[in-house]
Symmetry: C2
Subunit: 312 residues, 2 copies
């Protein structure tokens, strides 16, 4: 078995790159700019170049490279076809075939970036001990990934693990970015938590330290909740109740060993985990009450780890 | 490869048994009584006996038997441990190890009966063309199974595919058998549909042909809905809307190629499928709108087919 591999986490602004041993040790990491000009036509060629440049720099032969894995910001099916990646300017084509054409015979594998991050946490992060886990990434939106038997469940059209679009409210009048109403992302993303806070503040005249903020974001809500602000606690609890609803359903569908909570919102740490656990315990199916709820541990590196793991 | 295998679908009253070729042809089927006396202590011994009796009857040598698969009416984990099977009188023990001790070296494999039925439909039934599918069995309760890459997802504690216990209503005051409130089973099982009808009839004085029934069951609701009774249509639509809610979430978690609808309620046929499709289309995630919704095709034989497939 070759000694090295590469994990690439492609975003609309930069691509994070990692050089790994096949045992999972991260030897080097760096970033390259994503060239979205001309419909993103140069992106994969540029990524091939940065891999070959790094191999030259480190004196790594082609024979010593097990493969290159890549995470893509959009839905991708098991055969490597992306449907559309808005942030990259990409339409529909087979990323793996195109990337392979630049890689001179080195094995490549592509996956959705949120799924790939879940795989990273499952391989070397918070879910390292578990063969099945579900990662929920609470960022600007809500992403995620379902890992069963140490592999990503990508789904028939690449829509598995689209956890942010689980319908968790039937009476929502505002539309989600996806066009539906009542998606998890509308309540548990950073923007969703801020929205819940603004709604709550407008509904009541109760005193709250949140009223002192010029602009309320999820961090403000969770900071003030930790300090004991009653209204902030109500908002944070509500967001966690929605998340717990999603987890209740996930648990009776996939019954993972662990839920991994990541993304910017998860910087609230154990306070957030405890609140999620409190709400989950109220509604979980009896056979799923022992499912672990843990904080993600790889931060922004989860994507490169998971991208690498895809080729293993 | 040996030529034959057995699939056993164990219930609280009888066990359905099938002799198959390893290509999946059902050569013979029969039933044996389930002896629930003495905490079900004789059940597995009796099943071993019926297999060996059939082998003797058909002149099948041990070397020609690929294995024996069994479906169990209760949760079972990947290692073969059942936690409790109320209908059989069983407590917690390893079914596979115990059954193997009676099978003289013939390979055995056990799975949850609802999951196993899903595998049967995926192997030789309605989802034969698909490598990923979710079966939803609308019977006295609601069961199901998640099939990914032609294999059952059994979950870390055997609770994967417990589709009847997806929480799909947040305001339900009546408890489900599991102790929770708002489980899919409370609305979409045969008893759930009858319950929705009784609630609706009590809430309104509108005329309905359902008022002519001494006792309302799911068949009455679907029969009268087909005939155009407005109230029956409302009840059937409501049940399908709950089911569609469950499917919306399933589709963004597992993104199967097909949903297979089975169980007694599915005898309502294409009318039911059309109604489910109508409700699903209203709320499905855009990436999952093309998921097929099909009627189960193996009826009561799904369990023996799936039990057999487990050993393949």
């Amino acid at each position: 078995m070759a000694k090295y591999g590469f994990g690439l986490d492609l975003g609309g602004t930069t691509c994070k790159c990692g050089l790994f041993t096949t045992e999972g040790e991260l030897l080097d990491k760096w970033e390259v700019k994503t060239d979205t000009s001309n419909g993103g036509a140069n992106i994969l060629k540029n990524l091939a170049k940065t891999v070959f440049d790094k191999m030259a720099e480190k004196n790594i032969d082609k024979e010593d490279v097990w493969g290159v894995g890549i995470g893509i910001p959009g839905p991708i099916d098991a055969s490597g076809v992306v449907n559309r990646c808005v942030n990259l300017g990409w339409g529909k084509f087979n990323v793996e075939e195109e990337f392979a054409s630049h890689m001179d015979g080195i094995k490549v594998k592509a996956g959705n970036d949120a799924n790939v991050a879940a795989l990273g946490e499952a391989w070397m992060g918070a879910a390292k001990e578990y063969s099945s886990s579900v990662m929920i990434t609470l960022g600007t939106g809500v992403g995620g990934g379902v890992i069963i038997d140490d592999k990503i469940v990508s789904g028939s059209t690449g829509s598995a693990g689209e956890i942010g679009h689980m319908r968790v409210d039937y009476e929502e009048e505002n539309a989600c970015g996806c066009g539906n109403h009542g998606c998890l992302e509308q309540y548990c993303s950073a923007t969703g938590i801020a929205r819940l806070a603004r709604i709550k503040l407008a509904q009541t005249s109760d005193a709250s330290s949140l009223r002192d903020y010029d602009e309320i974001d999820a961090k403000a809500v969770l900071d003030e909740a930790k300090k004991g602000d009653k209204l902030a606690i109500e908002v944070a609890t509500k967001a966690c109740a929605y998340l717990a609803q999603g987890m209740q359903v996930l648990s009776v569908v996939a019954n993972p060993e662990a839920f991994v909570i990541g993304g910017g919102v998860s910087k609230a740490g154990q306070y957030l985990i405890d609140l999620i656990q409190q709400e989950y315990d109220k509604i979980a199916f009896h056979g799923c009450l022992d499912t672990k709820i843990v904080l993600a541990s790889l931060g922004n590196d989860a994507g490169i780890y998971g991208a690498m793991k895809q080729i293993m």
